[in-house]
């Protein structure tokens, strides 16, 4: 799947990362997803339900680079398993330190 399905919510937009499969890896895919959401406002909710693993490169490409972007929406990550959440936290911390 290379297109992004983004839903409108009361506070902005949301997308389900599991639409790309339970195991997320690769900067190519990460860049596609980031490009789709970087200009949305005011908030993007990433629902990680069903995501079993996320590689550090993917996490950096989506969340790390969003975190260091000057103009970006507020990002909410929900339903992430502990390992996925730690990958995202690490990616954001690396890009904003």
């Amino acid at each position: 799947m290379t297109t992004v399905s983004i839903s409108r919510t009361d506070s902005g937009y949301s997308l389900s990362l599991a639409d790309w499969g339970p195991d997320l890896s690769g900067r190519t895919l990460g860049a596609i997803i980031r490009e789709e959401v970087v200009d949305l406002a005011p908030e993007v909710l990433f629902d990680c339900a069903g995501v079993e693993s996320m590689s550090p490169s993917f996490a950096d490409e989506v969340f790390g680079k969003l975190a260091s972007s000057d103009k970006r929406p507020h990002i909410n990550v929900v339903n992430a398993n502990p390992a996925v959440l730690s990958a995202i936290r690490f990616a954001v911390a690396e890009r904003t330190r």
Partner: protein, 311 residues
């Protein structure tokens, strides 16, 4: 294990135990052929496996990658051959591991067997988009032998995906990437192999790394460090470091070979391997399944008791 033959012939005698260390020594004999310019005359290669009694998945992956590289790069003269093991169970194991199929030899129907338990055949990964599905299959093989939690499963997947991604970003490998997994006792062995340009050649694209990587061993050690990258983005260069940190914390083993150098990692210890050769990069990782494999420790994010985050 000696090499003998005419100028036009290279004969490889594969040892009884075709494991990682035995094979890399034998394959060093192929170096003149593997590194020679493509317009050199192809050579007759005879791979004598008749004495082989035991093969590891990593060993088969290495041998398949080397021979496939020679084939793809047109380095083999017609008439080159593989002398199959005398032990039929070993030959059947090679069939089941896709060794012959990877070299373009079709499997006779009589050799078909049920999918092996606890390991997966040598698998070709043609691009990084294929990596998640292949990796999932490898980890399912591990799950056939061990009950593993989602944290361990995710860590194993991240390991393979990161190394495979490196192949497609940096290696320029003629055979793409070959991967395999094998479980034995309480160990899981993963191998990711390419026949690309190697770590040092890639690092030399960056002027600041030239002095830090005067040889292949030092280049491998450098590549294991965090944020070492040839992309120009100093926040990248995480993948191989994450794999190394997982192995170190698990007190497992990791072996990285790249061209004329190698580094063997056992827990906290890194030892250079000088007398080896691999035409590209080979990463073999062994985890101790009795020890935790927790990528959260590597990330050290600290708070694991919630499932949401915002920034």
């Amino acid at each position: 294990m000696a090499s003998h033959g005419t100028d036009a012939e290279i004969r490889l005698e594969i040892p009884a135990n075709a494991n990682f260390s035995g094979l890399t020594r034998v394959l060093a004999q192929l170096k003149p052929l593997l590194v020679s310019p493509e317009n050199d005359e192809p050579r007759l290669v005879v791979v004598d496996m008749r004495d082989v009694e035991r093969c590891s998945a990593t060993g088969i992956t290495i041998l398949a990658a080397a021979l496939e590289h020679l084939f793809v790069c047109k380095r083999l003269r017609p008439g080159s051959q593989i002398l199959v093991p005398q032990r039929s169970d070993v030959t059947q194991f090679l069939w089941r591991m896709n060794f012959f199929a990877e070299l373009g030899v079709n499997m006779p129907s009589r050799q078909e067997r049920a999918r092996p338990h606890g390991f997966r055949p040598v698998t070709h990964v043609a691009n990084d988009a294929e990596s998640p599905a292949v990796t999932r299959g490898l980890v399912e093989a591990v799950e056939e032998s061990y009950e593993i939690d989602p944290i361990t499963s995710g860590a194993l997947k991240s390991c393979v995906n990161e190394v495979v991604e490196n192949v497609f970003y940096h290696a320029r490998s003629p055979v793409d990437a070959l991967v395999s997994v094998q479980t034995e006792d309480r160990k899981v062995e993963l191998a990711i192999v390419d026949t690309g340009r190697g770590i040092r050649t890639s690092l030399l694209d960056v002027p600041e790394y030239r002095a830090k990587a005067p040889d292949d061993c030092s280049a491998i050690r450098l590549a294991l460090k965090k944020n070492v990258t040839t992309t120009g983005d100093d926040r990248r260069g995480i993948g191989l470091w994450v794999v190394y940190e997982l192995v170190r914390r698990n007190e497992g083993q990791m072996l990285v070979l790249s061209n004329d150098g190698g580094v063997e990692i056992t827990g906290e210890q890194l030892v250079d391997i000088e007398e080896c050769f691999w035409p590209g990069t080979l990463v073999a990782v062994e985890f101790d399944m009795a020890q935790p494999i927790d990528i959260r420790e590597v990330y050290a994010s600290g708070e694991f008791d919630d499932d949401s985050f915002d920034f």
